[in-house]
C-alpha cells in the first residue's frame, strides 16, 4: 500500500526555486513601499473600491484553495479511511502555509497592521468578518499543531520541546482534527456571508442570500481537486511516483461534491431569475460564464468518465479547471461583481498588488519545497528512472 | 521663475494701492533736494470728527430689541391681503425707520462671518410701490395687534413641530430677500452683495517668519487673497504703458511701463 512519508532528497536550488526567490524579493520591495508611503502608493484601492485582489485572491481564494487540508483530514481521520493518509500530510502542509499567508495578506491589506489583535478584545458578533477572523486565527494555530508530529519526527531529538508536545498531542490530536473541520466549515461559509450585507453593490449574477452555502459547498468541492493538483505538481517536479491510486478515488468523491455545488449554483441562479443578464456580453456575464462553464460544468462532465479519472494528465487538467473555477468564483464575487455606485473608473489591480499576490504564491511554493525537503511530508516513492 | 517675479511685483503694487494710497499723493515733485521721501499713512478722506451714520445707535438698539413672539398667525391669501392693506390705506407713509440693521442673536447661528445688512426699508417700499404685503405676508391672529409686524416677531428660533413649522429669522431674511431679488431680477443674490465681510484681525491670521523676504510676504497675502492678486494683474496699475515724463532718460520713451519693459516695478 502506501509508503511512510520521508523527506525528499533532491537538490534544493533549481531554476524553479530561484525564480520563486526573485518573485519574493519583488514582493518584499513592494511591501517596503507600502509601509513607507501607504496603500495608495502600491495599490489602486480607493474610496469606491475598498477591496481589491488582496482580499479577492489572496484571502478569499487562498482560503478556498486550502480546503484540501480539512477535506482530506475529514476523509482519512474522521471517516477512518486511512487509505488516504498518504495525501493528508501534503494537504495539511499546503493548508498551513496557505492560511499563514492568508493571515499575512490580511495584515498587509488592513491599514493598521499593528492593530490586528484588536478583534480578539473588541468583538462585534454581528460581523461575518469577525467570525472569519477568529476562525482563521484559531485555525492557523490548529493547523500548525496538527503539523507538530511531522516536525517532531525529524527534529524531536534536537528539540526536546517538540518531542514533548508530540507525545502530549498523541492522545488529544483528535480534538484538533475535528476542530479543524468545524472551524473550516464555519469560516468557509462566513467568507461568503461578507458581501451579503451589500445587496446593491454586488452584481445579481452572484448576489444571493445563499452565498455562504455556495462558498461552503464549493470549498468542499475544491478540496480534493486541489490535492490532485498539488500532488501532481509536487510528484512530477520532484520526479516521484504519481500516487494515482489515491487520486483516482478522490476524484470520484469530487463528482458528488462538485455536483452538489453545481446544482445549488445553477438552481439559485434560475430561481432568482438572474440568468436574464447572462448573455448581455458584459465583462461580468462573461466572467460568470467562464467561472461556471469552464470551472464547474465541463470538469464535472469530464470527471464522469473513468478514463479521465484514471489518466494522470487528464485528471490533472480537470482538477486544475475546478481549482481555477473556484478561484475565479472568489475573485468574481469580491472584485468583478462589485459595483461601486459612484465610481468614475473601474478598478484594475495595480502592479504593486499583483507583485505582492504573486510573491505570496511564490513564497508558499518556496516554503513547500523547503518543508518537503527537510521534513517527512511526501509519501510517494522515487521513480526508478534516470535523473 | 518669471511668474514668480510677476507675482512678487504684483503684490508689491497691490499693497501700495491697498494699504498706502496716501503715499502717492505725498510723493513730492521731482525737485533737486535729496531729502528721502517720507512715507505717509495719513487718511486723505477722514471721517468728520464725531460723525456717525444717521440714527446708527438707534438702529443697533432696535436690532437687538426683544420682541414678544407671535404664536398664532392669521393665514390669508396674498392677493386678498394686498387688497385689504391697500383699502386700509397702509403704505409707504407708515414706515417709521428709513433703514433697519438686520441683526439679532437669532441670526448669529454660527461664528459670525459677515456684518449685518443695512436694509433700506423706505427704498424697498418705494420700489415696491408701497406694497407692504410683499414682505409682511401674514399678520398676527390677535385682532388688536398691528397689521404689519417686524420679521422677528414671528421668525425667531427655528420651530420644527410639524403643526407650526416656522423657519428661523436668518433663513426668513435670506429667503425673503434672495427669492424676491431673483424674481424681480433686481438686487444682489450673493453674500457680499448685501453683507460686508466681517473684518478680520490679520494679526491672528498672518503667519510669517521673523525676518520675512518680500516674496514670502507676497505669498502669504496671496494665500487668502489669491483673487485680489489675480484681479490686480488685470488693472492699469499693472498694465500701464507709455511715456514717463518725470523719469530721467525716459521722458520720450513710449515703450516704458509695467506692461512692457517692467520699468518702475517696485
Amino acid at each position: 500500500m502506501t509508503h511512510k512519508p520521508t523527506p525528499v532528497d533532491r537538490p534544493f536550488w533549481t531554476p524553479g526555486t530561484l525564480v520563486m526567490l526573485a518573485l519574493m524579493i519583488a514582493a518584499a520591495v513592494t511591501l517596503v513601499i507600502r509601509y513607507t508611503y501607504g496603500l495608495s502608493a502600491v495599490s489602486n484601492l480607493n474610496n469606491h473600491y475598498p477591496w481589491g485582489i488582496w482580499i479577492g485572491l489572496d484571502v478569499a481564494s487562498g482560503v478556498a484553495l486550502a480546503a484540501g487540508g480539512f477535506t482530506t483530514a475529514f476523509l482519512a481521520h474522521i471517516m477512518g479511511r486511512h487509505y488516504y493518509e498518504a495525501v493528508t500530510r501534503p494537504a495539511l502542509l499546503t493548508a498551513a502555509l496557505g492560511y499563514t499567508f492568508v493571515a499575512l495578506a490580511v495584515s498587509i491589506d488592513i491599514g493598521r497592521t499593528w492593530a490586528i489583535w484588536k478583534p480578539v478584545f473588541y468583538q462585534n458578533h454581528n460581523s461575518a468578518l469577525f467570525e472569519v477572523a477568529m476562525c482563521v486565527m484559531v485555525y492557523v494555530t490548529v493547523l500548525w499543531i496538527e503539523f507538530i508530529p511531522v516536525l517532531a519526527e525529524r527534529l524531536g531529538k534536537k528539540i526536546p520541546l517538540l518531542a514533548f508536545l508530540d507525545r502530549t498531542l498523541d492522545k488529544t490530536m483528535w480534538v484538533f482534527i475535528i476542530l479543524g473541520v468545524v472551524l473550516s466549515c464555519m469560516h468557509q461559509s462566513s467568507l461568503g456571508t461578507l458581501l451579503v450585507i451589500a445587496p446593491t453593490k454586488v452584481s445579481p449574477l452572484w448576489y444571493t442570500p445563499f452565498l455562504p452555502l455556495l462558498f461552503l459547498t464549493s470549498a468542499f468541492a475544491v478540496g480534493y481537486p486541489m490535492v490532485v493538483v498539488e500532488t501532481t505538481i509536487a510528484t512530477s517536479s520532484l520526479k516521484l511516483e504519481s500516487e494515482m491510486n489515491v487520486l483516482t478515488p478522490l476524484s470520484k468523491i469530487t463528482v458528488l461534491l462538485l455536483g452538489i455545488y453545481m446544482v445549488l449554483k445553477i438552481g439559485d441562479l434560475v430561481l432568482r431569475g438572474a440568468y436574464v443578464t447572462l448573455l448581455d456580453g458584459s465583462a461580468q456575464s462573461t466572467a460568470f460564464l467562464v467561472e461556471v462553464g469552464l470551472g464547474v460544468v465541463i470538469p464535472w462532465i469530464m470527471l464522469l468518465f473513468k478514463a479521465v479519472r484514471q489518466s494522470r494528465r487528464l485528471l490533472f487538467t480537470t482538477a486544475l479547471m475546478i481549482v481555477l473555477g473556484v478561484m475565479l468564483n472568489r475573485f468574481n464575487v469580491f472584485v468583478v461583481s462589485f459595483k461601486a455606485p459612484y465610481a468614475t473608473h473601474p478598478y484594475y489591480p495595480a502592479i504593486g498588488e499583483i507583485l505582492v499576490t504573486v510573491g505570496a504564491v511564490a513564497t508558499i511554493f518556496f516554503l513547500y519545497r523547503v518543508f518537503v525537503t527537510h521534513f517527512p511530508v511526501l509519501s510517494a516513492q522515487r521513480q526508478e528512472v534516470s535523473r | 521663475m518669471r511668474t514668480n517675479v510677476i507675482r512678487v511685483l504684483a503684490t508689491a503694487v497691490l499693497m501700495a494701492v491697498l494699504g498706502a494710497s496716501a503715499a502717492l499723493a505725498a510723493t513730492p515733485p521731482p525737485a533737486g533736494d535729496a531729502k528721502p521721501v517720507e512715507k505717509s499713512r495719513k487718511d486723505l478722506t477722514p471721517m468728520p470728527e464725531g460723525w456717525t451714520a444717521l440714527r446708527q445707535e438707534e438702529a443697533i438698539k432696535q436690532a437687538h430689541k426683544q420682541y414678544p413672539f407671535v404664536e398664532d398667525v392669521l393665514m390669508e391669501d396674498l392677493p386678498l391681503r394686498q387688497q385689504r392693506l391697500r383699502n386700509m390705506g397702509i403704505g409707504y407713509k407708515d414706515i417709521k425707520q428709513s433703514y433697519i440693521l438686520l441683526d439679532s442673536p437669532y441670526v448669529d447661528t454660527y461664528e459670525k462671518q459677515y456684518d449685518p445688512v443695512r436694509f433700506m426699508h423706505s427704498k424697498h417700499a418705494a420700489s415696491l410701490d408701497g406694497d407692504c404685503a410683499a414682505c409682511h405676508h401674514y399678520r398676527p391672529a390677535d385682532p388688536n395687534a398691528p397689521e404689519t409686524v417686524s420679521c422677528r416677531s414671528c421668525h425667531q428660533d427655528t420651530r420644527t413641530d410639524a403643526n407650526t413649522e416656522r423657519i428661523g429669522l436668518k433663513a426668513a431674511y435670506h429667503m425673503q430677500c434672495m427669492n424676491c431679488h431673483e424674481q424681480m431680477k433686481k438686487g444682489p443674490v450673493n453674500c457680499v452683495g448685501c453683507h460686508t465681510k466681517r473684518s478680520v484681525d490679520h494679526k491672528e491670521l498672518v503667519r510669517l517668519p521673523e525676518n520675512p523676504k518680500p516674496q514670502e510676504v507676497t505669498a502669504e497675502c496671496l494665500r487668502c487673497h489669491q483673487e485680489a492678486g489675480d484681479d490686480m494683474l488685470a488693472t492699469a496699475h499693472w498694465l500701464w504703458r507709455g511715456p514717463s515724463p518725470y523719469t530721467t532718460e525716459h521722458r520720450k520713451s513710449v515703450m516704458s511701463g509695467k506692461g512692457t519693459t517692467t520699468l518702475n516695478n517696485f
Binding site: 501607504g38 477512518g80 488592513i110 461575518a128 475535528i178 451579503v196 450585507i197 451589500a198 468542499f220 | 429667503m175
Partner: protein
C-alpha cells in the same frame, strides 16, 4: 464509500441551516434608536453657497481645502466626500426650467446618511462604528483595524479612507457633529450655518412629519417622497425635493435594512456557538464509531 457520502451529506445538511436562515428573516430585530436626531435637507431651498462645507471643515478641524469655499466653480464636478471633506454640494441640471426658460440648478448635499440600521456598524469587525442613541453613526479610531469592510458594506459609498497613511490610516466620514449635538441646543455645523435653513436639525420623527407637511402644503412643488424615510430601513438624514431623486444623484435602494440577512445568518447559526458545537459532536461521534469499527475489524 457509503459512509463517506453520508458524512458529507451531514455536513452539507449543517450548511442547509444557513440556507434556511434567510427565510426567517422576519425574526430579525431592528436595533434602531427610538428617538434619534436627524436632519431634513430641502433641495428646493439649497442655493449652493458651500457654507455648510466650510462650517464642516472648521468644526471638524479638517485641513484647508484645495479650492476655497467661496469658489463656486467646483459645484459641477460630481464630487464625493473624502478623507478630509465630510460633506460636499453638487450641482445638477435635472431638466427643470426657470422663468427665463434656462435650466434651473438643483443643489444636492452629500454626507453620511446616518442610517437607522447601518450596514457599516453591523459589518465593523471590532465595533469601532456604533449607532448612538442620538442618531449619530459614531467612529472610534481606537478600535479600528483599517479593514475597510464598512466601506464595502455602505450602500451610500460614504466612508473614506486615508490611503496615503502607511501605519495609522483612519476611516473618515461625517460625524453628525457628535459633540455639538450632544450638548443641549447644539446643532451640526452645517445646519447652524445654512443661511436658508435648507438643513433643518431636529428629532427624526418630527422632521418626518414636517417633511410630509411641506409636501402636503405644496404638492405642486414637491415630489411626493421623503428620501431616507424608508430607504435601507430609514436614515437619520432625510431629503425632500422638487425633482426626481434618481435624477440628482440618489440611488434607488431597497427598503430592507442592509444588515438584516447577514445578522440573521450569523445569529441563527452562531448564537451560543450551537451549530459548531453540534457539528463537533456529530463529527466526534462519527470518528469514534469508525475508529471502533476498525478495531473490531482488526481483531
Amino acid at each position: 464509500m457509503k459512509l463517506t457520502r453520508r458524512g458529507f451529506l451531514g455536513a452539507v445538511g449543517a450548511a442547509g441551516v444557513a440556507a434556511a436562515a434567510p427565510n426567517n428573516a422576519q425574526a430579525w430585530q431592528s436595533k434602531a434608536p427610538p428617538d434619534p436626531y436627524g436632519c431634513l435637507v430641502d433641495l428646493t431651498r439649497c442655493i449652493g453657497c458651500r457654507k455648510c462645507e466650510q462650517a464642516c471643515n472648521e468644526v471638524n478641524r479638517l485641513p484647508e481645502p484645495a479650492v476655497r469655499f467661496d469658489d463656486l466653480t467646483v459645484l459641477d464636478a460630481k464630487r464625493r466626500p473624502d478623507h478630509d471633506t465630510f460633506t460636499v454640494i453638487n450641482r445638477y441640471y435635472p431638466g427643470r426650467l426657470d422663468d427665463r426658460a434656462k435650466p434651473a440648478p438643483t443643489f444636492v448635499k452629500v454626507q453620511c446618511m446616518h442610517c437607522q440600521d447601518p450596514a457599516c456598524v453591523s459589518a465593523c469587525i471590532t465595533g469601532a462604528l456604533t449607532k448612538e442613541d442620538n442618531g449619530a453613526v459614531h467612529y472610534d479610531v481606537g478600535k479600528c483595524i483599517g479593514c475597510r469592510y464598512c466601506m464595502a458594506a455602505c450602500p451610500f459609498e460614504i466612508p473614506a479612507y486615508e490611503y496615503h497613511d502607511p501605519i495609522t490610516p483612519r476611516v473618515r466620514k461625517c460625524t453628525f457633529c457628535f459633540e455639538r449635538i450632544s450638548k443641549e441646543g447644539g446643532k451640526p455645523g452645517c445646519a447652524s450655518i445654512c443661511p436658508v435653513e435648507a438643513i433643518t436639525f431636529g428629532r427624526r420623527n418630527e422632521l418626518l412629519l414636517l417633511a410630509k407637511k411641506r409636501i402636503e402644503n405644496d404638492p405642486g412643488k414637491y415630489v411626493d417622497r421623503v428620501y431616507g424615510e424608508k430607504e435601507v430601513g430609514g436614515t437619520s438624514w432625510l431629503y425632500v425635493s422638487n425633482v426626481d431623486f434618481e435624477k440628482v444623484g440618489f440611488q434607488k435602494l431597497p427598503e430592507q435594512p442592509m444588515p438584516g440577512i447577514t445578522e440573521t445568518i450569523q445569529s441563527s447559526l452562531f448564537s451560543y456557538l450551537w451549530s459548531p458545537l453540534a457539528l463537533f459532536g456529530v463529527l466526534g461521534a462519527v470518528m469514534g464509531l469508525t475508529g471502533r469499527k476498525e478495531e473490531n475489524h482488526d481483531a
